[in-house]
Each structure stands twice: as C-alpha cells, then as structure tokens.
Amino acid sequence: MHREFLMGNEAIALGALAAGVNFVAGYPGTPSTEVLETVARRNPGTVYVEWSVNEKAAVEAAAGAAYAGARAMVTMKQVGLNVACDPVMSLEYIGVKGGMVIMVADDPGPISSQTEQDTRSFASFSKIPLFDPSSVKEAYEMIQEAFDFSQAYRTPVFFRATTRIDHAYESIDVKDPGAYLVHRAEGFVKDSSKWVIFPGLSVRNHALIEERNAALTDTLSGYPRNRILPGCGAAAEGQDGAAAECPFPRKAVASHGISFMYTLDAFQGKARPDILRIATPFPFPEKLAADFLLGKEEVLCIEELDPVIERALIYVAGKYGLHVRIRGKLSGDVAPSGENTPDSVASALAAFLEEETLSGEAAVPGEVPPLPVRPPVLCAGCPHRASFYAVKQAMKGQKTFYGGDIGCYTLGNAQPLDMCDTCLCMGAGINIAQGIGRVEPDTKCFAFVGDSTFFASGITGVVNAVYNQADVTIVILDNSTTAMTGHQPHPGTGRTMMGQVHEPVKIERVLNAIGLTCVKTVDPLDLPLAVETVKRVSSEKGVKAVIFKSPCAAITKPDSRAAVDPDKCIGCKRCIRELGCPALTWDGNKAVIDSGQCTGCLLCAKVCPAAAIS
C-alpha cells in the first residue's frame, strides 16, 4: 500500500485496476471522464481501454468482453446512460460471465448536465444492483467489491457516484500494482440458449432476476457498508464522545452518498440520533431497515435527487407493520430537486431535531455588494466564435433557425453571439432543425454539431434528413478534439486510447457517402471566405454541409498576439460588442487586448472598422 492524493474518479480507476479489470470502454462526459483516462494512464499493460463512439457502443463492447469471461467496466455520465439504455436493459436479462461494472456519474445541481436524473431510480427500473459510495476512499474499496459481487451473481452492476465524489480529492491508501488481482478471461463459450435473447429466455430469466433480487434484500442487509450508526450525546471536551447518552431516542436519520458525509460533518462534536446509511439502494436492505425503524417515531431521509430511500422506508414500515413517520422530500422537509450542500443538510437536520442550529457562524453574515456574473464563455481564440460569427454575418436579415448541440459550442448561445436557439441532447440539433423546417418552410434552418458529437450521435440525423428530403444546412464545428470534457480523441482524430494512430474517419467522406453533394470545408478564421461559403452553401436546396475546420485554441500554441493601436482605435466597442471575446477589455476610452489570454486569431482585427488591431 502507498498513499496518494487522488480525485474520486482516479480512485475508482485504481480500484478497478486493483480488481483485475481487463476491459474498459466509455464515452467522455463530465463528471465521469477521468475514470477512463486514469485507467489508460495507470494501465499496468494488461487492460484494453477505448473511448467508444458513444455509450451504447461502450456497453455493447464491454458486454462482449464480459461474455468472454473478462472483467469489464464501462464509464459514462448520467445522460450517457440514456444513450446506453437499450443494451443495458436487455443485458440484465442475459447476464455476464466476468464481472461487469457500469460506472455512472450522476450530476446533482446539475453542474454540467442537461438533467438531474438519479441512476438509483434507473437501477430499480432495470433491476440491476447499484453501489452508491460516500467518499473517495470508499469508492476505491467499493468498486472492488462491486466487481466481486457482479461476478458472483453473474449480473452487471451499477457503480454510481455523484460530482462531489467523482471530483473530490482525498489522500488515501491504495494498493501497489504488484498487489492487483490478476483475472484471466476463460473465453466465450458458445451456447445460444444462454446468449441469444428470445422471449422464452426472457420470461425465464425475468423470474430468476426477481427471485434473486428478493433474496438480495436479505443478503445486502448484511453488507457492512449498509449500516446503522448508533446515536450519541455531545462529545465532552477532549473525548471522542460516543459514551454520552443520545438525547434523541425516538428520532433517526437515513442518508446515502455525499449527503451522509454532510450529515456526519453537521453532527461533528454534537449529539446525534441513530443514522442509517444506505450503500445499496437497490436491492434495498429491507431487514436492516426494519431493525432500524423499530421503536422510532420519526425518521428524516437526507438524500439527493429522487426520494429513493424515503419511498423504500415507507414501504418497509408498511410491510413490517411499523408505526413510524418517514419524512424527507415527499413530506416537504428536504428540497425535492437540486444539489444538497453542507448547509442545506445542516438546516434540515436542525429543523427536524428542533435544535437551534447545526450551521457555522459567518464572519460577514449579511448582504454583499452587487457582484458581476461570470457565466462560462468560449475561450479567447476559440474557432467556434469565428464560425458562429461567420454564419451570423452571412444570414443577416434572413429568417433563420440555429439548432445547437452538446459541447463547448453550446456556449454560442450567450450574448453577443446568440447563435444557439435550441439544445436538447447529443445529436438532437440536426433532427430538431428538420422538424422546425417542416413547420416553418420559410425559415433557413441550420444545425451546429461538433466533431465528436457528430460521430457519437449526429450521423443518424443526417441520414434521416437525406432520406426524408429535408432542407437543412449542417454546420460541423471540427476542432479535432472532444474539447468540453478535456480533449479526448475521437474517430476523426485517428488516435486511440491504446496509443495507436491510424487513418482518421473523415467527416467529409461520411457526408458524401450518405448522399450530400454540397459539402464545403473552410477555415472559420478566414472570415470573408467563411461568410461567402455559408452564403453559397445555404442557398442550395436539400441537405448540405459546411465543415468549419480549425483546431481547439486550448490545444494549440499561439504564434502571435494581437494588440490594439490606441491611436487608431475610435472607441466604437464593435469588437467587444460583437464577439464577446474574454481577451478584449475596455479601459474606459479604448479597447485593450489582454495578451495573457489572446491567441492571435485576429478575428477582432477583421471586425474592427478602423483597422486598429493587428
């Protein structure tokens, strides 16, 4: 063992390596991305790692590996699970031979996601057991247990952490590579009665799954991470405390995940009631919960996202005939949506226990002066800014629709660009633009999609458009990387996570093969040509495409910086007003360029009416 300062996602990756994982696939998505990246970086040489084209492909490839007896892991963010839903739902009916862990990162808040969906609810829907860690250290240990459990029960399992665990850091003890478990896959054994999902097999296996999960509610009551912490009195000076008598014998708290840690922090050094911690919300440890509820009058559920524990406790109370009031989200004691914080948890606990406060006392408790908002913006020198600006200039005065998509370029919605009218989910913009066009035939419909998103789920939308004879301009923002999640390679880069470099999958060729005859590739930083290209392409009928090709500013070294000549600047603010580049600032009279941020893209120079920037 040795000690490292690890991000939760790194700890999950090292835990998987320690558990002898053989195969890891995933698709990037905050807050899950670092798991797969860490597996690749710390690969002892025995693990196959890939960024798959999307989450569905990742789950299917991992299922194949697990059918062949390998230990497999798939990584994704919570909305990625929606993409992978089809294979996941069916896979539970088939089962696996090697252990298979589906690592899903949930994002309460949401901080970087479209939805606040709770994978714990998906677990009961799909009937797949789920592990829900509370800390980085526990995540490291628990994922190893998840592999063993999966292999023992021949079922895929979910391992679900939230942003505050995925992206938290802790100093923890981890195994040396020499101590990693070595798991050898025995290979795929043909047996169509087992691996081919026909209705007869499904109905038989469905019954077995229900039987297994019912039995697991007992088994998991004995899983040490599902546990009851007995209540205690306030810690006396200089003591740890557990000896003093608990002043809340009839009240109790149930919690999970990071909220369990917030609960422990709120009670630090103070009296606390009994606490039930749930590590496997599905199958729910019913016996343990029934023991916990016995003799209690009221239980407050401190949980994040769906009231999973709250509903389960209400169910257990009914099933065992226990007279106890379960409170939480459904009773209005805890906010039904949004992320929990140490403060929201402390105030819910204080209200429940009728304590004056469990919160800290701030140095400055009152009002503060008005503060600037800092929404995330496209980086200085980002080629997407130039692409959006070119389309905006080209279509000036025309009735347009701009379908956006998922990636850095969603930020094109912000002022002053205002070039993203919709955003729904990966690849949706291309189809939404078609729908808008059917209802508003006089609108010029555009769909912006990034290179990685195009490969992940954009291609089917283009096929749909061609097949159904839509009138739409597809704008591919090709910056040669998956920028938003931290620059992962994708099919268009030709680089893989195993270090190979091969012929990239060319977007232009894909579009041609689908049947597009008008596909123009242009550098968006060549503004006049970019504007001209958009005008020409968008005037064609049917499905056509512009590929704006220019590398992400964050992965290229700037070769020069732009500067404003204060003698020439007429102070019109046009550069600031039209581009919204964070490197452009205002000194009160003239525009100024922050050389620390500027990449020398010179888009502002092309916009300046006084030729003051060079």
Partner: protein
C-alpha cells in the same frame, strides 16, 4: 479550536488564475505533515472564464470535502469580487487573503453586469477584520512576473497563521512540482509578503 478540528480553507478566483496549483501545494505540504486531506474544486464547463473555487480540509475529522457556510478558517481570494462572493464561508474569527486587482467579465464590459470596484474593496476592508489585501499588480512588477500570484497569496496565508502548515513543507512541495528554472522566482514569491 482543538487540534482535532480540521483546518478549512476556501480558495476562489477566475478560471485560469492558478488556484489549482495552489491547492495542490497545500495538499502536498499537509500530507508531508501526516495530515489527511480532502479537497474539491471547480471542474468542467465553469472553468471557461467562470468563477472557480476550491475547498480544502486538513485533518482526520473532516468527512466531506465541502465546507459549510461560516466554517472556513482561511479564505484565499485571487480576485476581489470572487472573494466577496465566497465570504459567507469565512467563520467569525477567520482570516482572508485577497488580491486587489479586479478581473472584469465580458458581461461587465458589455454593461450587462455590475462591477462596483470601490464598493467591493471598501466592503472587504470594513467587514473582514482578519483581512490581508495583496497588491498583485505591484507584486507582479516587483517579482518580474504575473504568473506567480498564487504563490504570493500562499506566502501571505502562511504569514497569517491560519494555514497551520510549515513553510518548509510548502517550499519543498513547490520544488517537487515546478521545473527547476522557476524555483528561485517562486521562492521569492512565497516570501514576498
């Protein structure tokens, strides 16, 4: 405060200011002292020019990395408006180290968002008794580099006594993390305040 209570530190600023290196240095120094470390920082979309913050907790009694309001012993603000935004975390007798130089977002330049510089600075001076304001423009001029503001602020935090770490360990962590040609500059930055 008993020695068992964790030391809670909030760092805040704007994406790209070097808050992450500063938090890594604190974590590495604390680990050298045998302390357990929890930390959480802004990652992802918000990094693109947005407000960023780091929570760091040192000591075995910390459970989550997130610090509650009114619980931070120390606040290190890389930007004055961001320091005010996070001020609610600072506990009553806590210390604050704040760089005076404002960074105006695009929204303020377009006139869509306020930035009352004078009001923000005088608010800090009036309300925070344990405040050290750092003139980062002058520091950059004196040191010949604007890239080591993080280490200047870290030095001021050491001097305030609220960090509770040994300067030797910070220096050692610095040397382990930075290329040798930057050692002298950063050592001067650490001792600037």
């Amino acid at each position: 405060m008993s020695r068992k209570d964790p030391i809670n530190i909030i760092m805040c600023g704007v994406g790209g200011q070097g808050t992450i290196l500063a938090s890594r240095l604190i974590a590495a120094a604390a680990m050298k002292e045998g302390l357990e470390v929890h930390a959480a920082e802004t990652i992802g979309m918000a990094q693109r020019g947005g407000s960023v913050f780091t929570h760091i907790r040192l000591g075995e009694q910390a459970h989550a990395a997130q610090i509650g309001k009114g619980r931070a012993d120390l606040l290190i603000g890389f930007e004055p408006a961001e320091a005010v935004r996070m001020l609610g975390f600072l506990k009553k007798e806590g210390k604050a180290i704040v760089s005076m130089q404002p960074i105006r977002p695009v929204s303020a330049m377009l006139g869509m968002s306020p930035y009352p510089e004078e009001e923000i600075l005088s608010f800090l001076k009036e309300k925070v008794s344990g405040l050290t304001l750092v003139d980062s423009v002058r520091a950059a001029k004196d040191l010949g580099s604007s890239r080591c503001l993080n280490v200047v602020l870290l030095g001021a935090a050491l001097r305030s006594g609220a960090l509770g770490l040994d300067e030797e360990h910070i220096l050692c962590a610095l040397q382990e993390r930075l290329p040798e040609k930057l050692h002298a500059l950063n050592e001067r930055a650490l001792h600037y305040i």
